[in-house]
Subunit: 366 residues, 2 copies
């Protein structure tokens, strides 16, 4: 596979039509978007032309204060607004950090988020993957970078224990490397518990967050939490990318957070996603007994292992209008794999059942 | 000056307070934003959750069709929607084209737009400037890149004649290099006439456009017009940067264009800007007789020459709460200069008079 070929997931998104049952992308359930509340917020902020003017590269101050509050109150991670930089989604954060701080080796989990891989590859970063922390220990050194997701990792849905976080923090201290900790799913644990990020234990770190999974992705608003000094450096990259994130969209989210309880909204998402995950898991157990997986405890995906090559199976499934993602695309070297990722958040229960049954039929014919 | 130090203009923007009279940034007059119409458009598109969901990387199809129509009808440049890629403002276009196509020498006008310089520098492109087309001719060769603004260039406000466009087109054909033609101000000519872009005469080209100056910059929506094949390649960079431009903002602009006559709106902008330019020019002639300049025929700036170092003067002016931009920041090598750029679109006439008088006072004390 061409390393710079258009990302497989985006290709699937582009290829799907109204008849496709898609377990592929990472699309949130749009029925849960707080549409009415966002419309109200938008009408409020559009009373002033300021919402349509250029604005500061670091981002809206009120919004940065509200994000800092989430760190203080929910992540138990002392933070002020000068430690928050608004980005045009986490995807942009990868590019900015990459340009500014990644000048040596970069280590990623095997498998890891394809969007991060894409951003690192296009900037020609020297990519290495690791399967376990022990093997990483012997390789990583000063000013190298470690990229990981500690909560409900994409694609594996695995969340690190407190003990594992301490091990990573100690390894980082020892090696004096940078940490990019991607918290895209950190607030989506099904039991509502939020774990302390590794970044809170290690200063040379960037914690990435996004409103895409907890409010709405179409607004393209995310953030980086790091030291004030690092933000000063990142601003050069931010300005060169898009001057600043959409003023309107920042103000809409700020107003939405002002007028609503975000965590009450997140409760609804968690409940819906847990129920979808459980339904998908039960369909898989019933119709796909050869697919081995653990039930997810949060996030948006079920990850597991077929007995056959998952890329071949995914291609056949797409012909039958069912999309899922074979794990090879999440690997630095894109090796053959039997693993696959299923998104459960953007399909109805009847679609989940029908889609899983279609895959079962394909497997049973082989 | 540090080549990667935070852009001087953005620094000024960040440093200005409510008392600053700013001729510095490139802020459009926010009183002219079509606030009511955009609010109506927003309420229409927010009837559906689709406006808040992830969307295709290439951009909204209806919007791309409308932009293609502008090329066909206004620029006399045959274009279809497959030749339009939506970006998060022109600033992002520089990054995407840079990553994908600029692998050899890059040539820019002297002076040129600082935002483009920033985007090229952070990707370590090999930058060269040129003052006249003859000197360029001997230097540029196959797969090099030429970046320029043919209409109301930032900072000089110069617009190329038809003859000059033909000369550049012929030079490009001869050298087989890439053209990035930045059309940020192309629709803002004071006499309403729109010239054919050089890109329409040369295939290996990227014509950049933006809604920032003709609708509103806070939405961060721009585009690249190039061949379908080039767009396929650019999509890899687009995905790695922010997946796609804000779905909501694309749909707002699309709906706005659907329900309103953009070119009637642009007429209002042109009229206001022309009157502001003429007022600033008359103040300069009266209070700053030593400042030599030509009246602008479009765009947002007056560019001219002091008898003293313009960086020193700009620093003194900023202390007195008046901001303008010394031309050194628009140079690849940031040499000393007596030239300066004044924005006239975002100040009232009384501010223009007061600001120019403040600069006159500083000069008269010297």
């Amino acid at each position: 596979m061409n390393k710079l070929k258009r990302s497989y997931i985006r290709e699937i998104l582009d290829a799907t039509n109204e008849e496709t049952i898609s377990f592929a992308g990472g699309l949130p359930n749009e029925k849960l978007f707080p549409l009415t509340q966002l419309k109200k917020a938008t009408n409020k902020v559009l009373k002033s032309a300021d919402a349509l003017q250029y604005s500061k590269s670091i981002g809206d101050e009120s919004l940065r204060k509200k994000i800092a509050k989430i760190y203080n109150e929910k992540f138990d991670f002392p933070t002020n607004e000068n430690e928050i930089l608004i980005t045009t989604g986490s995807q942009q954060s990868f590019d900015m950090i990459s340009k500014t701080f990644i000048h040596k080796e970069l280590f990623v989990q095997k498998p890891t988020y394809i969007g991060a891989l894409g951003a690192f590859k296009i900037l020609n970063k020297s990519l290495n993957d690791f399967s376990d922390v022990q093997s990483l220990k012997t390789k990583i050194s000063t000013d190298d970078t470690l990229y990981l997701m500690s909560d409900f990792s994409n694609p594996t849905s695995i969340s690190m224990s407190q003990k594992e976080r301490l091990i990573f923090a100690s390894l980082l201290k020892q090696s004096d490397s940078y940490l990019i900790e991607d918290g895209a799913y950190s607030l989506l644990s099904f039991n509502g518990k939020i774990k302390k990020p590794i970044s809170s234990l290690y200063e040379k770190s960037f914690h990435l967050g996004s409103f895409s999974k907890i409010v709405a992705p179409g607004l393209r608003v995310g953030w980086i939490r790091t030291s004030k000094e690092n933000i000063e450096k990142l601003l050069i990259a931010k300005e060169s990318l898009d001057l600043h994130t959409s003023t309107l969209n920042q103000m809409i989210i700020n107003q939405y957070l002002e007028d609503n309880d975000l965590f009450e909204h997140i409760k609804l998402i968690r409940k819906d996603y847990k129920s979808k995950m459980q339904y998908m898991a039960s369909c898989m157990k019933k119709y796909l007994p050869s697919f081995k997986f653990e039930k997810s405890k949060g996030g948006m995906f079920i990850y597991g292992k077929f007995e056959v090559d998952s890329l071949e199976l995914a291609k056949k499934a797409l012909e039958k209008n069912v999309a899922f993602v074979p794990s090879c695309v999440f690997d630095v070297n894109e090796e053959k794999s039997t693993y696959a990722r299923f998104n459960f958040t953007n399909s109805s229960k009847s679609q989940i059942k029908a889609g899983i049954k279609t895959i079962a039929k394909i497997l049973n014919k082989e």
